[in-house]
Amino acid sequence: MGIAKLASKFVSFDMIMFGLHKHLIITRARYPEFAHKMAERDLVAQVMIHQEKSGYWFEFTSGKVRLSKGVHEKPDVTLGFRDRRTARELLIPPFDWSEQIHAQKMFRLTMDGRPDDTAWFQRLLMRSTTIGERYGQNRPGGEIRYVNNNNGGPVFVDVKDGRIVRMTPVVLRDDDAKSWTITARGRKFTPPRRAAIASHALCMKSRVYSEDRIMYPMKRVDFDPHGERNPGNRGVSGHERISWDEALDIVAGEIVRCRTQSGPGSIGTLISAHHLWGNVGYHLSAAHRFWNLIGHTYIEHNPESWEGWFWGAMHHWGHSTRAGAGDPYGLVEDCLRHADMIVFWSSDPEATGGCYAGTEGSIRRQWAKELGIEFVHIDPYFNHTAQVLGGKWIAPRPGTSNALALAIAFVWIDEGLYDRDYVERVTTGFDEWKAHIMGEDGTVPKTPEWAELECGVEAHVIRALARKWGKSRTYLGAGGWGNSVGSANRQSTGVQWARSMVCLAAMQGMGKPGSNMGNLQFGTPIDYTFYFPGYVEGGISGDLEYTAAAVSNYQRMPHLMTVNSVKQRIPRLKLADAILDGRCEGNVMAVDSVTGQFEKHVYPAEGYAPVEMLYRYGSSYTATIGDSNRLIEAFRSPKLKFIVNQSIWKNNETVFADVILPACTNYERWDIGEWANPGALVFHAQSQLNHRVVAMQHKCIEPVGESRSDYEIFFALSKKLGLSDYYSEGMTEYDWVKRVYESSDMPKVMPWRTFLKRGYYVVPPDSEKTRVPTAYSWFANEEKKNVPDATPVASEYNTEWLKGLQTQSGRFEFVPETLRRNPPEVDRPAVNTYQRGWEGYWDEERRQEYPLQMIAPHPRYSFHTMGDGTDSFLSEIEDHRVWVDGWPYTKMRIHPEDAEARAIRDRALVRVANDRGGLVCVAQVTARIRKGTVHVYESSSLYRSAGEPGKSVDLGGGANQVSSGRMQVRNSHAGAGNSILVEVENWDGKAGFQ
């Protein structure tokens, strides 16, 4: 029996009312902040027992409160309980949220009144329970130290006089949990006791105080919601300041207009990935909660960055819940103890830092270097991992890596250098694939000499690599994570490359000691059992359909469920098609099964209205999606009658909005979150960390300018729409943060007030005896799955629950049944072949005009667009952006011979262009890039058109200006942002790209 229930047995409703009244008076006297809040509004709040038609009312006048018994004839607010018992149970803290929610669902607990009044009253009551809580540490010099967290790691935030002085990585104290130690080859390795964070975390102060912050709501000057909207002038006509009230009225008015006049589905919602950190403020949390309450066409995420793994590798080894990526468990210890070599293939973890993990992996790769583990780096660019670790650099032509992979398999088969025992025991289809590789099926044998002609890597180098690999215990680090992502998988040939990566790993007995997929980025010996929700678990959204809330979060943090009744959706990659062509088709991003990805959905869906209002959340989308000029055309299309952009900074698309709502950063609001814990799709991503850190995200400063937190913006809108009590459950962000804390394992290890004050908690690592086993060791040994991951779902285990992989046979399938069963796909056949892609070196016709291949990898210093532009400190980093005549251009890397042929000098301004678009960059002439290839990091968050938007070169350097919107394989929506042909020339200062 809970304390509240117990207390409710002994405390009468009348006593609670008297007590509450006294509590308000005392709190008012004790806390000036509370007194100030109480004086904000004069109103009468009735507490009503419906069954008896009796109760008490509180009268707030000039900051004072009076209690009266009975029923007020005209209360502003009525808090109603069905009966006295309900009131007793629900009013005594600590609150039982399950009961609270249930009472609301059953209308045993009701709230009536004007939204502004009900919100004020509820927040006043909630505040009275938390106002004594203290946070922040006093520091010398009058500074206060807070804690916060973001995409790149936890930080201390030192504040003086309401202004952030510095942000610096969290350094662990002696009384924080001890660190783990790995013993390998006679040496002991223990990580440094501090958070190794990312550059995009270290630059955040500059982005809080940024010239590019949106300081107040704005409206496009020639946009009139009741008259001429002039959509064609988006991006040209400029914006003017308006009040919050006016802005919210326009947005709420458009929502009502769309819902009542245009029909369901007419409101489209578009978010950016990798929002600012925090379980409450995350888009999957606060934004989904609001949008579900109004119904929306979700412009949904795709497995972007996982393309080849999701649409390809998954068919061989399952892992649908990981979007085709591999398991992370135990890989660091196994690699350090047993591996002789790591092959980094399209893998630059020093640049990309896995996902959210800052620079935590760097020290572990230094240990590998100290141990004398051999390194091979396969990448057309001499990347940062190759730079710092050394080893052999092999630079294939972009897009041809699968030829190289098949030739390696050829050598292994030809010379008997693969694990026959493993292949026979736990795989299927090998003979069929082998016949293809050896040319026994009538195709050309995939010899190193054959591959050399395709990939440009000398045959003897391929053979040497294959022999060493076949004879040594090797970790294949494919993609930045070691077992997922990587530029090679965002190629027109990305699906085939990722498929071959897992096949090579299987040929070498993946899961046996020292043989696995990884690059020391994932798989530290942390504790995997301590529960803290990841952001994909939906935070406060109540969204059981589009988030992973149903797995743990929804049970552990009871909150009102929300449902998006609009089933129409648009894949993010196809938004331009949807708007401009009025239709598009997508595949379902299924995570519960492998087969689910074949399911199609079309837009517009039957019965739904086309999207005519776009609720744009964040604003740097054009930089990450192929053929971005077409998106810009869509944003300027009259088919979109209204675009609202809720954003912190003026980014790429802010300029195309009709109304702009200024949001604030996570340093200006309350939140809570665990470092590098998205949960769900990247389950146990904390295994990239040396220490698990759960962070309180203190509100360090007041919102800059007139900006507000996303939650408060949605709350304000929900008040206009009469949805605020549902949206907020009476909670502020602070109250939600506390509920998230309570839902986790945190209360078991650290009381709320201690956590609030201290600001972070380090989860102790597992003892050496209970460390999780190495990923796939169970599979290699034909045991049941013994790593702490409850997926795949039971029905996907086809032989026996927890036995085998998520394939039809339960074995690793060299020729996947899921691809065999469907009508044969020419571009994704069951037997993985090498097929030349499109827009690569093979495309001789297009190369006449655009002779250079361009790769556009994920950027190093920014996290996609996060941290780029926005007046950020990152613009001071020469390898990121270079200032020329007062503008921070992005860099294009070009080989000395290619530069010489075009008379391009180092640091010259160049135009990188093809028929789709163009960008202006600063040239870096360097032998680090393979001849014939140029390199520009994608994800510019600065869009500055030199002339008419969408029809001119981009001075911001958006690499997707020149990439194609074409999918890798037809039956997918797998983008191919690294398949680009361009020509580069010294920029003549003209706006055009043709």
């Binding site: 610096t168 501090r194 500059s206 040497a464 200032w883």
Partner: protein
């Protein structure tokens, strides 16, 4: 008296820029009264990371060298200063007084490392102060050391004699020691930016294939210097480092399977030579 020193291991530096950003975050638009005035957020790089690229073809190496105020014991900026605007603290840290130094552009111009920033707006020279204001508040190390993920930055507080002997013992170098400024910033593994390398591979040719030779003995001779020997690795590659940066006559001799080939050449810059191809 113990004094502050810093050791930067360039072998562990991958240009992640956390040190650079820490400095920017600490000094840009922040006033540290008595220590430093705010620097502008754009263009004021109290530290920079220089890039040294060497090699050719697919045999490269790139070295990043972080450069900041060297807190020289015999600092040229101090000599150039008037009115005692630049002084050394007892703990070795050099401070440019933000008030007294006003208008003294010669202080910035005097730095041979180019790391005294001239603040045009405030008309003062500015440096990274080793985060003296934080150390004085009890911080254990400057911020950049906390931010470095690979422990490439070590700060050491010890006597000058101890530091000197450690530098000798561990082969630590300073930038431009020939100037005699006695920097307090030391570097580990800096050699490769002052040296050339030569690399190549040994291959064996049979009827229709070319293959690498692992374990071939390779010797490098030059002038009167001692011959250096190595063996090829599993890619058939060899590499000799530690060669002088000026044009040098060298001879590379390859011995494998009872065969010997050699080649003489002039090595002007680091790089890869054509492969040694032996008949099977």
């Amino acid at each position: 008296m113990t004094k502050w020193n810093m050791i930067l291991d360039v072998d562990r530096c991958n240009n992640c820029r956390n040190c650079f950003l820490s400095v920017l975050d600490e000094y840009a638009e922040n006033e540290h009264a008595g220590y430093s005035a705010p620097t502008p957020r754009k263009g004021a790089h109290l530290m920079e990371i220089d890039t040294h690229e060497r090699g050719s073809g697919q045999d490269l190496d790139v070295t990043y060298v972080p450069v900041t105020c060297n807190h020289c014991d015999d600092a040229p900026c101090m000599k150039a200063a008037e009115k005692g605007a630049v002084y050394t603290r007892p703990d070795g840290i050099v401070i440019i007084d933000p008030v007294k130094s006003k208008g003294q552009k010669q202080i910035a111009e005097a730095c041979p490392f180019g790391r005294v920033y001239w603040n045009e707006e405030l008309q003062i020279p500015q440096i990274w102060t080793f985060d003296a204001h934080l150390l004085d508040q009890g911080w254990e190390r400057p911020r950049m050391a906390d931010a470095c993920p690979t422990l490439a930055i070590e700060t050491v507080k010890c006597s000058d004699a101890e530091m000197e002997s450690r530098a000798r013992r561990e082969n630590l170098r300073t930038l431009q020691p020939e100037l005699g400024t006695k920097p307090r910033i030391y570097y580990r593994n800096l050699d490769r930016i002052f040296e050339n390398f030569v690399s190549g591979s040994v291959l064996v040719k049979s009827a229709d294939t070319l293959d690498v030779v692992e374990g071939a003995e390779v010797a490098l001779r030059r002038n009167e210097e001692k011959t250096i020997e190595t063996r090829t690795d599993f890619f058939g590659d060899f590499r000799f480092t530690g060669l002088p940066c000026e044009a040098t006559e060298i001879e590379i001799e390859v011995r494998t399977g009872g065969k010997t080939v050699s080649r003489r050449m002039t090595l002007a810059r680091s790089g890869r030579v054509d492969p040694f191809i032996l008949e099977a």
